[in-house]
Assembly symmetry: C2
Homo-oligomer: 296 residues x 2
């Protein structure tokens, strides 16, 4: 049982965590921080939090766990602003989509208290945001990755781990660097590829709608992630730039080989690439390979 949980940021991620823990009966009191009065009153009236604070020092006072549920671009500043008020037995954790840079910021901001910081990333979300979007079931059947360092207090890791399990999530532990590599591959790079394609098509043809009328299920699924929040993705791209650029280099190199194979009408090269890809995907996802169309 968590006696007092402070959630900094009253959005979908922080709000859903609070609702999930309340529903599971695993938290006594949740205090929410937001700069905006309207967000505070909305979160209160929706029953997401038990009390609201507009001063961050007051918000974290006496909290057992403080969750930084702010966008990844705002985590460094938030760490700096709470640092003077962090008590010795307080646990801090975050929900940022990139971890190595957050770890560095936390070291700088928290100093001796860095051991109390448990870097975390719940891999969950919807297209909606704000307190009204929060729901208790968001984390069910979703993964949360924690990336403690050697200095991180083991008891703190255990407590944050238990918090997420209580919220319905499955918790994995890995290094921040491995997290950032894996997410660059499975999330960050795919987003860039989709953004780049849709932007190119939009530029290519003033009447994109005409072009996209002929796009069937395959393109619709492929391009769905190009509809994601631009600011969030700017922050992720800039924050995880090292891992992203390293993968992007490799991707561009492989794409130039594919380009060359098409140019030289090298069917054997193409089929080898397509077969390896199909096999990898079919092996990894236990689902019908294509919902809508094998072709388009």
């Amino acid at each position: 049982m968590i006696n007092r949980l402070a959630i900094i940021g009253m959005g979908l991620i922080g709000g859903s965590l609070s609702l999930a823990l309340k529903q599971a009966g695993r938290v006594k009191h949740v205090v929410g921080f937001s700069r905006q009065a309207s967000t505070r009153s909305e979160a209160l009236s929706l029953g997401i939090i038990d009390s609201a604070e507009c001063n961050i020092a007051d918000a974290i006072k006496n909290a057992e766990i403080v969750v930084l549920a702010v966008p990844v671009g705002a985590i460094a500043d938030t760490l700096i602003s709470i640092a003077p008020y962090v008590k010795d037995n307080m646990i801090i954790t975050d929900v940022g989509s990139v971890k190595a840079q957050v770890v560095d910021s936390a070291k700088l901001a928290l100093g001796d208290k860095f051991r109390q910081f448990v870097p975390g990333h719940p891999i969950a979300g919807t297209e909606k945001s704000g307190p009204a979007a929060a729901f208790a079931e968001l984390y069910q059947e979703h993964r949360v990755v924690l990336t403690p360092t050697k200095q991180t207090d083991e008891e703190a890791v255990k407590k944050v781990c238990n918090m997420w399990i209580a919220a319905g999530a499955e918790v994995s532990i890995m290094t921040a660097e491995h997290h950032d590599d894996v997410l660059a591959a499975t999330s960050h790079l795919p987003h860039l590829l989709a953004f780049n394609l849709v932007d190119m098509l939009a530029e290519e043809d003033a009447d994109v709608a005409e072009v996209l009328r002929y796009a069937a299920g395959g393109f619709r699924d492929f391009s769905r992630i190009a509809s994601s929040d631009p600011e969030m993705w700017r922050d992720i791209s800039l924050t995880n730039s090292t891992a992203i650029l390293s993968l992007l280099n490799k991707y561009q190199h492989q794409m130039s080989l594919l380009h060359q194979a098409i140019e030289q009408q090298d069917g054997d090269y193409l089929i080898a690439v397509f077969e390896r890809a199909k096999q990898a995907r079919d092996t990894c996802f236990n689902e019908p390979s294509l919902k809508d169309s094998s072709e388009v």
Copy 2:
């Protein structure tokens, strides 16, 4: 009413067309051609065709419309093999995913009878293939593109158009070149991008499954098309190489600008690309922008 329809190739596409026309009561007799005895007897016993032929001359004899429902890589040879038996009032059409090269092949193979050939492409399919996968509703709410040339007989275009409408499809007419450009943008290039990514990840990490455990709905949707049939996509890549390479050049150039922007931490550039992409996609698809996750 079509008195006699010949379908060359008893797969999902040809079989579903036959079933749709039968269900609509718009065809008297369907004769199916396949080289394989097992496919012929399967198509007969499933009621997809009324008679089966293993000799292509017999198959098209007295047919009002001949549909070449074979993979795009096999269309040129099929045209050559039917050419000697094509009568003056016979209409020939195909279902190939690439059109300019099919038009060229048809000109060469059919000579004077080229005007009886109506190039077509039903934008539909599922992950399954073979006669057993065919179903009458496949073309409902799907588009069929016809790409007649100036020489194509107008009556023939009208009849093929009516056939597809009777099968439940919506028919569009455009040039073969425009078709190939549009499909390169909305289908062929996205497939190459997805194949390339999944192949790269499979190479990158022997244990792809470990990596993909952390992939949520976004990646699953994005990579679904990497599960498509490798041979079909080899044929499409080689057949529509001109349009694909031209787009791929542009894509690679834009990707290198994105790469540079990340390297230089140019957030303004990134957000401009992401916003244009998001706006284009949200405008074109009237659906919630992201089903599963705004982040992963």
